[in-house]
């Protein structure tokens, strides 16, 4: 691949050398990716572009970033977005206390330093000869974004729930997303030592700007199909019996087709599987489902809707699980 940017060195090149490679490496740390996800990670690695991950809550958006970090053996730097997040909390802040101390010291020492100067202009002249360290790296408190750029070995930067932040903040991210650098007015531009792997997640509570989207690969993660979900459960809850796994996946898949306020996501399926394993369940039955349904569904209204159909759903799930998945 000529021209595809700098070839990712070391671990990244070894593990993410091909789409299959990405699939295997992520699977080895317990994240079973769909083909789209693997392609996205592979492309992001080779085009050096951030990935914007959208999808409903609980399908493994944040988990993807964590797994990529574990896989590449890079530190994960996470920035949770919220309304009112600004650059002082996201990028850098000055260490005011230390700056204050510095001025105090300066005040005490100023007499010695300027010593013999007689006139004001000459004293000023001398003052100008000192390096201006008041606004310098020493007094800079790095926040997640700056920290991600400063990691000598590279890093995985997760900007979580970008849709929760304000629109202005989005614009402020553009520089870091396209050029992997930030500009601090008093100091200048700071480049990334090693280009970080950047993932942004969004629950689409609001539409993101075009400028941001243009700079990212756009990955939409939906609910997995039965086969993939089965593999995910297998990886995440290793103690589960094969039959039970098939049944519960079939059940959840059906549950998703109901008219619910919030359909169960993958993370809830995993939780449910864990609960069932804890209860030493060997297979699903209506009573068991009824007792544990609150793990899957989080709204009273949803539980009511599902409760009416538990018997049929369990029956169907059993039938479907009987077939080879």
């Amino acid at each position: 691949m000529p021209d595809a940017g700098v070839a990712p060195a070391g671990t990244a090149a070894r593990k993410f050398g091909s789409i299959e490679g990405v699939e295997h490496s992520l699977a080895s740390v317990g994240y079973i990716p769909s083909r789209q996800i693997a392609t996205a990670v592979y492309l992001a690695q080779h085009l050096e572009k951030p990935i914007l991950v959208e999808g409903p809550a609980g399908v493994g958006k944040t988990e993807l970033a964590k797994s990529v970090a574990t896989c590449l053996e890079l530190p994960l730097i996470r920035m949770q977005c919220y309304e009112g997040l600004d650059e002082a909390k996201a990028l850098y802040e000055w260490k005011y206390g230390k700056q204050l101390l510095y001025t105090q010291i300066l005040k005490d020492k100023i007499g010695d330093v300027l010593g013999g100067e007689e006139t004001l202009p000459s004293a000023l002249n001398k003052l100008h000869q000192f390096g201006d360290i008041f606004f310098s790296q020493q007094f800079l408190e790095p926040r997640p974004l700056l920290r991600a750029l400063q990691q000598p070995g590279g890093s995985v930067l997760l900007i979580d729930e970008i849709d929760k932040s304000d629109q202005e903040f989005e614009a402020f991210l553009l520089e870091i997303l396209s050029d992997y650098q930030v500009t601090i007015p008093e100091i200048g531009s700071i480049h990334a030592i090693r280009t970080p792997v950047v993932l942004l997640t969004s629950n689409s509570t609001r539409d993101l700007g075009d400028a941001l989207k243009r700079r990212c690969l756009h990955l939409h993660i939906g609910f997995p199909d039965a086969k993939l979900e089965g593999r995910i459960i297998q990886a995440r809850v290793p103690g589960i019996e094969t039959d039970l796994r098939r049944e519960l996946v079939a059940f959840v898949q059906q549950l998703r087709s109901l008219d619910l306020k919030k359909v169960p996501s993958v993370s809830e399926t995993i939780d449910w599987a864990r609960v069932l394993v804890l209860l030493h369940a060997a297979s699903l039955d209506a009573e068991l489902v009824q007792d544990t349904l609150n793990v899957l569904l989080k709204f009273e209204a949803d539980i009511e809707v599902a409760n009416k159909q538990i018997a049929t759903l369990t029956q169907k799930a059993k039938q479907e699980a009987g077939l080879p998945i």
């Binding site: 789409i19 083909r35 492309l43 914007l52 989207k213």
Partner: protein
């Protein structure tokens, strides 16, 4: 980036994607080319995933993309039957352009190829001929025959027909008949190809045309099937306006130091001003009260006005909406809690379609809500001012105009009809700051833009 990056099939696909309604910027085009370089053309599914990541940025666009991708790459699957391992790029350069295309497939005549039933050669010749005839410029479905004709001409159909006549003369009736059938089939294929291309390249154009039409169509004359499209348009318009005016909301006035707040903020370190606070000018969001006539003909209009205003929620501070026909009720809650389509149906059910009584409705408003009108409130009244010869109660209008910041009256009727019959428009007009005709989406946009602009 070298010129080789923007390879021909990709370039054409981008064009097709754009026409399908996906917004592809130049930068994304370059990304697509780089992505293709990384993954190659070999595996269709991987190519699809990769391009989808780079080009389609919303769930809707993903759907459009899938459709366009399948449509576009299906056509060279036809030719790939026999040459599966050759990538499209290579194939295109192979079959060549222009004059060479005439005799493609190894220099044999079209008749020969048809008789041999050499599908791969035929498909690639047809593809070359299509490219040559500028098929990607097709815009309207009336051009189908023209392009089919051009493609067939370029493939050498005339020569093939002459060959067929020659065969007939020679007495070889069976071969001639055979060839005739094949030519017929070829015509169908060409027509098919043109139609696929029409779908690929012309959809955006027709869509644009249709939207343009809808923007200036009278809202009362809309057909049911256009409603969905209109909703999309309204939302897009509202989003654009909201984005434009959200920016001006808080303007920093650098240069005016806010001494009081600066001192306060720097108290922590002994009043040494590390952090400066500048005076800011806050711009009020407009407060809007909308009174919508929902009787009969005006109802369609009201639907869009309300939709527009609620889509603007971000840019407007609080909107209170009222619906009236014979009497007036507040409908803000319904509109806020239900999706707009349901809400409007509900409102119509509870009050709509009666005959309007403006005087009565204004009195209701004065009794119930007049006290919420402040000097910052803009009142928008949407209606034809036809009160069925009831008392117009202009005295209430006068009091309202004194209290409110301004009153805007939107009338879906043309100006010439104002004041005729039972229309009280001219009686109300003196108390309104603006009275304007408003019956298309374009009018609506103008009114709402003015509303936001004045507030800024």
């Amino acid at each position: 980036m070298s010129g080789a990056l923007a390879s021909e099939p990709l370039r054409q696909f981008l064009q097709a994607a754009r026409s399908a309604g996906i917004r592809v910027s130049a930068a994304e085009g370059i990304d697509a080319a780089r992505a293709v370089q990384v993954v190659g053309y070999g595996d269709r599914m991987v190519l699809k995933d990769a391009l989808s990541l780079v080009l389609a940025k919303t769930p809707e666009e993903k759907d459009l993309f899938d459709e366009a991708f399948d449509l576009y790459f299906r056509r060279d699957d036809l030719a790939r039957n026999d040459e599966r391992d050759i990538d499209p790029e290579a194939r295109i350069t192979q079959s060549g352009f222009g004059g060479e295309g005439l005799g493609g497939g190894g220099g044999r005549s079209l008749a020969q190829m048809l008789l041999d039933d050499d599908r791969a050669a035929l498909a690639s010749t047809m593809e070359a001929a299509a490219r040559d005839s500028g098929i990607q410029n097709i815009r309207f479905f009336t051009q189908r025959n023209l392009y089919t004709r051009r493609i067939l001409d370029r493939m050498g159909l005339r020569q093939a027909e002459r060959d067929m006549d020659a065969l007939r003369k020679d007495g070889d009736q069976t071969t001639a008949k055979h060839l005739e059938n094949r030519i017929e089939a070829l015509r169908d294929q060409a027509r098919d190809l043109v139609e696929r291309n029409l779908l690929l390249f012309a959809r955006g154009e027709t869509e644009k045309f249709r939207e343009e039409l809808l923007r200036s169509a009278r809202l009362t004359n809309l057909e049911r099937r256009d409603l969905e499209r209109m909703r999309v348009l309204v939302r897009a318009m509202a989003k654009r306006l909201a984005a434009r005016y959200a920016k001006t909301r808080r303007r920093r006035l650098r240069g005016h130091l806010d001494v009081r707040r600066t001192l306060r903020k720097n108290m922590g370190w002994g009043g040494i001003p590390f952090v400066t606070v500048w005076k800011q000018k806050r711009i009020e969001k407009p407060r809007v009260m909308v009174l919508c006539d929902v009787s009969g003909s005006v109802a369609a209009m009201a639907q869009f006005l309300l939709m527009f205003l609620y889509a603007l929620n971000e840019a407007l501070k609080d909107i209170r909406s009222f619906a009236f026909a014979g009497s007036l009720i507040e409908v803000s809650d319904i509109l806020e809690s239900e999706p707009i389509e349901v809400a409007i149906a509900k409102i119509m059910q509870s009050i709509g379609f009666g005959s309007s009584n403006y005087g009565n409705s204004l009195a209701d408003f004065e009794d119930g809500w007049e006290r919420y009108v402040t000097s910052k409130t803009t009142i928008i009244i949407l209606g034809d001012a036809r009160g069925n010869r009831t008392d117009p109660r202009t005295d209430i209008m006068q009091r309202m105009s004194q209290r409110a910041k301004r009153i805007i009256w939107l009338n879906p009727e043309f100006r010439a009809a104002w004041g005729t019959g039972d229309s009280d428009m001219f009686r109300y007009a003196p108390y309104c700051n603006v009275v304007t005709v408003c019956n298309t989406l374009r009018h609506l946009e103008r009114v709402v833009t003015d509303l936001l602009k004045d507030a800024a």
